[in-house]
């Protein structure tokens, strides 16, 4: 048994619940070791009140000898010294001994327990075999002692007396007995805990509820609840212990908040006392008794209380293996303390809190470092880094306060302050005295000298930055870097500062935070100025001068910095070159003229719109745009290409992709894709070879983004390497003043040589400073072209009508040629298209900009061969326009004069007419040959005219009488008046053509026709062939008679004379008055020769019969195309006609009407039959085929009547109709139709009445 009761209670981990032992001390001592060992071996489940979760708990105990003083007096709240269980040990086995001494001892023990109302007790009776054996004879059975004890003491609580058998023997019985004893002890201990702690907690709650009463003190309550925490800690229930402290923490925090809200508690007064000590947290002791005493006495300051609370929480968290939570809580605590002190308006020496926070941060970090392995530390870096940064921050402000960051060192005032601050730190704690790196030592050292401060501050800053970087908090790292930069600046070390500033700036620029950008840039400017880096400084100044986040005064200052530098005429030959984007922005470029394409030598103006970002007007000595020149090899072709590309009316807008602080500067994908469609066409026929899409700004898009191009980072260390290209052509203006905002500057662009001019760079020079825009993008080009003179002739109105005077427009593009006085166009005259002389022919001259610059009367001289048009003098690249009236003579027919030679020796091209697919009119191409003064070659031009009419003729017969009909169709879109219609015969004077036309003038509307008729009268024989000329005068409708133009149409009529007349009669069947449908009737055909044979006819087709009579063979054919008639028997046959006048041949044919009504006569055809001897092969007439078909149809209807002759005839006809090339050579008999007019058919259009069949009673009526 240990003599522990002598020692003061030390609040350490060694605390165990106290168990008192009474009775046989010797017995207990012998069992103590195994008891103390075995008790905690197995866990017990501890069921808790208030619904708290049950816990498995390993019980330990501190066994002490029972003493009356150990029992707690009434009202004693101490829990740690509270005996939770009282044990009475005895090994008495003798009844007598029991009765005499042991029982009384037990009674005394019980009484003293009862007076202190302690019910947690147990009596252990130890039995050994030895004792049993020894006293075997004179003792009662051992149970009787136990029973006696039970009956004496354990009133209905039999479990309060336990038997331990053979404790020192190693037998199963002994083990069993031990186990049950231990179980009992554990159960009883837990019961005691539950009961006593429950009671304690109830008391504590009651006390807490009294907190609104005036006399209540937080410190008292603190002690009570902490007692509970201690007990939990003692039971190794750290979680529960921590809860107690957290509750206290929250309670206190709430009081402070309530204080802030005006609800003051009296006891808070002690915490509002001025802070006198700021020695920081102390986390190395499990319990800081010094502070605890202070709290107990009610003398603790707020910082003391907080420090103590936190140190306890920290201890418990470390027990719980959650060290990172310490750092997290530490940061909260430190922030909170600072706030609470402010809220409670506690007076604190300036800087004292900084000291406290600094020390505390470091203390926490040290403490954590000690109990965590490195991996764990790294994993929770995000918490620790906050402490590092906080400490850094505080040290910095301490340094500022104590004058340690100034270049000249601290003043005496600063030193006094330092001394005061150091005084508040007190002495170093004994725990850390031997440690070289204790927070206390660090702070003391840091405040002691400028050098030490710098060392410590840099060390801390770098540590914080490293950690931020390690966990990827780059922005935080840069912010620390920035504050480090500020420190370096104060120390007069701009070189080191700039690195940090640049890094920070890069991040702000890249993320588009304009305010930090401006602020950082200002600091950088200061750096650069101190470092004497003029280029960079000026660049930064330019950026700042244009920064809208600054005040106008600041901007003016930076602008003035640049101007001042520019004004100093430096000896150095090298001018300072800066990026233009920061100074002024090119927003728009405009070409005048807008096509950006001029002929060489013309004036081209380029207007730049520059948005000046400077706050004041700046005078620029020279503004230059350099030009890249490409010789254009495409000749005049280049012009169209140029105009195609320059869309948007010659205005190019520049989007500001490189504005320095805009939110979009670095974001997104950079410049947008600029795509163009390209089409590759074949030069010969303009057909498409290939097509595709090209990206025009690949050079911007494909650029590596990490490269430090001067445009991308206007603030980068190296100056932008932009240089003006020497020797290039330039647009230049001198002495311009750029006002803030938009400025318009006009350049006159060089346009000497033809080619493409690309604007490359822009450079503004102010004294020694040059602002350069290294690339003008999108690229700006203009073209200078040189053009050959060009003459075109085009109709004034479409279409040009032949036969009428038409206006054509001559357009002369002078190109590079200057038309001098006396220059003339020589037009070769042609018969078919004379140029009509006109008195006033005006030429208009247009400038390239399509402005009318002059009007001149042209003088036109016509000679026999040539029409000469003298041109007015015209400057180059002008357009000369005039109109001429021409007439295209309509070719009258087939007559074709021999080819003529033109004046220039070329073969005259006969105008050839052809039909045009777009119009029903016949087109004629007229070629013109013009000699121009600028070329030795003639210019050939073609005009297409259209003949407005289509004319057809036909021969009509009435027996022997002949008529000629001419049909004039107007196919144009114009209406005409037709007058003096005339038909003449050229060869036969005796012939008279009598006009049957009544009107002298006739309107011929568009798309309409006019028919004219003449009767042919002759005195002698009618000639075989008539050469006729139809002529008429026409003019567009509504024009006077003078405008009438002649129109001729020649044609030829052949075989005009009527050779045969065909008559036919239909004879009704016998006994009938009329024909009836379905009944056969006779068709009598009578063919009569009317004239004596002409000479040609005799030679051609007659043959001499054996009887000397000249005959010709004719074939007749009866056909009915409309299926009205059925021909029965022979439908065709051959007749041999004597070639004398009035020779007649009659044929009888049987036909049957198929319908009733007035039926037209069946058609009777007479054809020439040429025997096989005939030499001339005539192309078969397609018509015969058709008739052939109708013939077969006729056959079909009479299917049942087999007629061999008909078939035979058909076969012959067929052979003629389908006669092809092979048959041509073979001498076959052929059929040839007569020319119209040679056969006159009297039955044409005759009808015969056919009655219906008699038995037809049913009539079908179809009403539709």
């Amino acid at each position: 048994m240990e003599q522990q009761e002598e020692k003061p209670i030390i609040y350490t981990m060694e605390n165990k619940p106290i168990v008192t032992c009474a009775g046989d001390q010797g017995l207990f001592t012998s069992l103590y070791t195994s008891l103390a060992q075995q008790l905690p071996r197995e866990p017990m489940e501890w069921r808790r009140t208030y619904g708290r979760a049950p816990k498995m708990i390993h019980l330990e105990a501190n066994f002490v000898q029972f003493k009356e003083e150990l029992l707690p007096k009434e009202g004693n709240k101490a829990l740690l010294t509270f005996p939770f269980l009282h044990i009475y040990w005895t090994d008495c086995c003798d009844t007598e001994v029991y009765k005499t001494s042991v029982r009384e001892d037990m009674m005394r023990w019980q009484n003293s327990l009862r007076t202190h109302s302690s019910a947690d007790w147990v009596i252990i009776v130890v039995e050994t075999n030895d004792t049993k054996k020894k006293n075997k004879t004179n003792i009662l059975p051992r149970s009787s002692i136990v029973d006696k004890i039970r009956s004496d003491f354990c009133n209905k609580q039999n479990d309060r007396c336990v038997v331990l058998s053979d404790p020192l023997k190693d037998s199963s019985r002994s083990q069993e007995s031990w186990n049950s004893l231990l179980l009992k002890l554990r159960t009883l201990l837990l019961m005691s805990f539950t009961k006593n702690l429950g009671r304690f907690e109830d008391d504590m709650r009651t006390l807490r509820e009294k907190r609104t009463q005036p006399g209540w003190s937080f410190c008292e309550y603190f002690m009570v609840q902490e007692e509970l925490a201690f007990v939990f800690e003692m039971l190794q229930q750290f979680e529960d212990a921590l809860v107690q402290y957290d509750e206290l923490d929250a309670l206190f925090t709430q009081y402070v908040l309530n204080f802030g809200a005006g609800d003051t508690a009296n006891w808070l007064g002690s915490f509002c006392a001025p802070v006198r000590s700021w020695s920081g947290l102390l986390l190395r002791r499990p319990i800081d008794m010094e502070k605890r005493d202070g709290i107990q006495r009610g003398e603790a300051s707020l910082l003391d209380l907080r420090s103590y609370l936190f140190s306890r929480q920290c201890t418990l968290l470390i027990f719980l293996q959650r060290p990172w939570e310490v750092t997290q809580r530490a940061l909260e605590l430190l922030h909170n303390c600072v706030q609470e002190l402010r809220l409670l308006e506690v007076s604190v020496l300036e800087g004292a809190l900084d000291c406290w926070v600094f020390l505390s941060c470091l203390e926490v970090l040290h403490r954590i470092e000690g109990c965590c392995d490195q991996a764990q530390l790294a994993a929770n870096c995000s918490y620790t880094v906050g402490l590092w940064a906080y400490a850094t921050d505080k040290l910095k402000s301490l340094g500022e306060l104590c004058g340690l960051v100034l270049e000249k060192g601290p003043t005496s005032e600063d030193l006094n302050r330092t001394v005061d601050l150091l005084a508040g730190l007190g002495d170093e704690r004994p725990e850390t005295v031997n440690s070289l790196q204790s927070p206390y030592k660090k702070l003391k050292e840091a405040l002691s000298s400028v050098e030490a401060f710098e060392r410590h501050y840099l060390e801390l800053s770098h540590a914080a930055m490293e950690m931020y970087r390690a966990i990827g908090r780059l922005r935080s790292a840069r912010l620390v870097g920035k504050s480090l930069a500020e420190f370096h600046m104060r120390k007069g070390d701009p070189a080191r500062a700039e690195t940090f500033l640049q890094e920070a700036l890069k991040s702000y620029v890249s993320e588009g935070w304009s305010l930090p950008v401006t602020h950082t840039r200002k600091q950088i400017a200061e750096c650069q100025k101190l470092l004497g880096r003029t280029d960079d400084y000026l660049q930064t100044s330019a950026l700042l001068a244009g920064d809208v986040n600054l005040t106008t005064e600041e901007r003016k200052h930076f602008c003035q910095e640049i101007l001042t530098f520019a004004g100093i005429s430096g000896d150095q030959s090298q001018k300072v070159t800066l990026s233009m984007g920061v100074f002024t922005q090119l927003t728009q470029l405009q070409f005048h003229p807008a096509t950006a394409s001029v002929h060489s030598g013309a004036v081209l103006k380029v207007e730049l719109t520059l948005r000046c970002l400077m706050p004041i007007p700046v005078n620029i000595q020279q503004l230059v745009a350099s030009i890249h020149f490409d010789v254009d090899h495409g000749g005049t072709h280049g012009r169209s290409k140029g105009t195609q590309r320059q869309t948007n009316q010659g205005t190019i807008e520049f989007t500001q992709g490189n504005s320095s602080v805009g939110p979009h500067s670095y974001l997104g994908t950079g410049p947008a894709l600029e795509l163009d469609e390209i089409q590759d066409r074949s030069p010969s026929d303009n057909s498409l070879n290939s097509t595709g899409v090209v990206c025009k700004n690949t050079h911007l898009l494909m650029r590596r983004h990490d490269s430090n191009s001067p445009l991308a980072t206007p603030n980068c260390v190296s100056p932008p390497t932009v240089a003006m290209k020497e020797g290039a052509q330039m647009l230049k203006v001198q002495d311009v003043t750029l006002k803030p905002g938009n400025n318009s500057i006009v350049f006159t662009a060089p346009s000497g040589q033809p080619g493409t001019y690309t604007l490359r760079q822009l450079c503004a020079t102010i004294g020694e400073v040059q602002f350069v825009l290294p690339h003008i993008y999108p690229s700006v080009q203009y073209e200078v072209y040189s053009q050959e003179p060009q003459l075109t002739v085009e109709p004034l109105a479409e279409p040009l009508l032949a036969g009428l005077p038409q206006m054509v427009k001559f357009t002369l593009l002078t190109g590079h040629y200057t038309v001098k006085k006396g220059d003339a166009l020589q037009l070769s005259n042609t018969d078919t298209m004379p140029i009509l002389p006109s008195s006033t022919c005006t030429a208009r001259t247009h400038s390239p900009a399509a402005e009318l610059v002059g009007e001149n009367i042209l003088s036109i001289q016509s000679s026999e061969k040539v029409t000469s048009i003298s041109l007015p003098p015209t400057p180059p690249y002008h357009t000369l326009e005039f109109q001429l009236e021409v007439l295209c003579i309509i070719p009258s027919g087939s007559d074709r004069p021999a080819n003529e030679r033109l004046t220039n020796g070329e073969v005259r091209h006969r105008p050839r007419s052809y039909s045009h697919p777009d119009t029903p009119m016949t087109a004629i191409d007229q070629r013109m040959s013009i000699d121009c003064p600028w070329s030795i070659y003639s210019t050939l031009l073609a005009l297409t005219f259209y003949i407005p009419f289509k004319t057809k003729h036909s021969l009509l017969s009435a027996g022997n009488r002949k008529y000629v009909q001419v049909c004039v169709q107007n196919v144009s879109d114009v209406s005409f008046t037709l007058a003096e219609v005339k038909l003449t015969e050229k060869q036969h004077a005796s012939l008279e053509l009598q006009s049957l036309n009544t009107k002298s003038q006739q309107l011929l509307c568009s798309k309409h026709s006019v028919f004219c008729l003449w009767e042919v009268r002759w005195k002698e024989d009618l000639p075989l062939c008539l050469q006729c000329v139809f002529s008429a005068n026409f003019s567009p409708f509504n024009q006077d008679i003078s405008a009438f133009k002649p129109y001729h149409y020649q044609f030829q009529l052949e075989r005009v004379t009527t050779l045969y007349s065909v008559r036919a009669e239909i004879v009704p069947p016998a006994g009938e008055q009329q024909c009836r449908s379905g009944l056969l009737c006779g068709l009598e055909v009578c063919i009569t020769r009317l004239t004596e044979p002409a000479e040609g006819e005799l030679a051609e087709e007659s043959k001499t019969d054996t009887d000397g009579l000249k005959t010709t063979k004719l074939m007749y054919e009866v056909a009915d195309s409309s299926s009205n008639w059925a021909v029965c028997g022979r439908s065709s046959g051959m007749v041999s006609m004597p070639m004398t006048a009035n020779a007649t041949h009659k044929v009888q044919i049987e036909v049957m009407p198929l319908f009733a009504g007035h039926l037209p006569f069946p058609k009777i055809k007479v054809l020439k039959y040429l025997p096989h001897t005939a030499a001339v092969a005539i192309q078969p007439d397609p018509d015969s085929c058709v008739e052939n078909d109708s013939l077969s149809l006729l056959d079909k209807t009479l299917d049942d009547q087999a007629d061999t002759a008909s078939i035979r005839s058909r076969g012959s006809v067929h052979s003629v109709g389908s006669g092809d090339q092979q048959q041509k050579g073979v001498a076959m008999p052929r059929l040839e139709p007569f020319s119209p007019g040679q056969v006159f058919n009297h039955t044409h259009a005759r009808q015969v009445l056919v009655l219906p069949a008699t038995d037809d009673h049913i009539m079908e009526v179809n009403a539709t």
Binding site: L331, H335, L343, R475, S476, L479, E511, H664
Partner: protein, 139 residues
């Protein structure tokens, strides 16, 4: 109530930032910018565990001695940051949440405006009004 409210685009540039008092504007810009570190940290850690059903409210990003910085991230990665004075202890987490929700609603309205170009600075008066309602009223 808040002392600074910021809306930050997906690409981390500010779409809207307002603070009271105005003389501290720069400091708030720095604070909000730095808080993006923690926002990104939280997004990446949340993204791993939760998938798409993530909580938009990021909670307290980090406390400083004087201010508490809260964060919120929309599904389109637009960040809202509210800075509250540390001494203002009456604000509970729920109130901060509801402030963010209000802000998000108003922001959605701004985005719904067909004349607003997403990615531009927010210049909506309605949004401004909502923000003003959440800011500390200083005399």
């Amino acid at each position: 109530m808040a002392v600074c409210i910021a809306v930050i685009a997906k690409e981390n540039y500010p779409l809207y930032i307002r603070s009271v008092p105005t003389q501290n504007e720069l400091k708030f810009h720095y604070t909000v910018h730095t808080s993006l570190d923690v926002v990104e940290e939280k997004i990446s850690s949340v993204g791993k565990s939760m998938g798409d059903q993530r909580e938009l409210y990021l909670g307290l990003l980090y406390p400083t001695e004087d201010y508490k910085v809260y964060g919120y991230v929309t599904n389109s990665k637009v960040k809202f940051v509210i800075v509250v004075d540390s001494s203002n202890t009456s604000l509970r987490d729920n109130e901060i949440r509801s402030m963010f929700r209000k802000l998000h609603n108003s922001f959605t309205d701004v985005m719904c405006n067909p004349f607003h170009n997403p990615g531009d600075h927010i210049q909506s008066k309605a949004f401004d009004g909502i923000v003003s309602g959440m800011m500390v009223q200083t005399g």
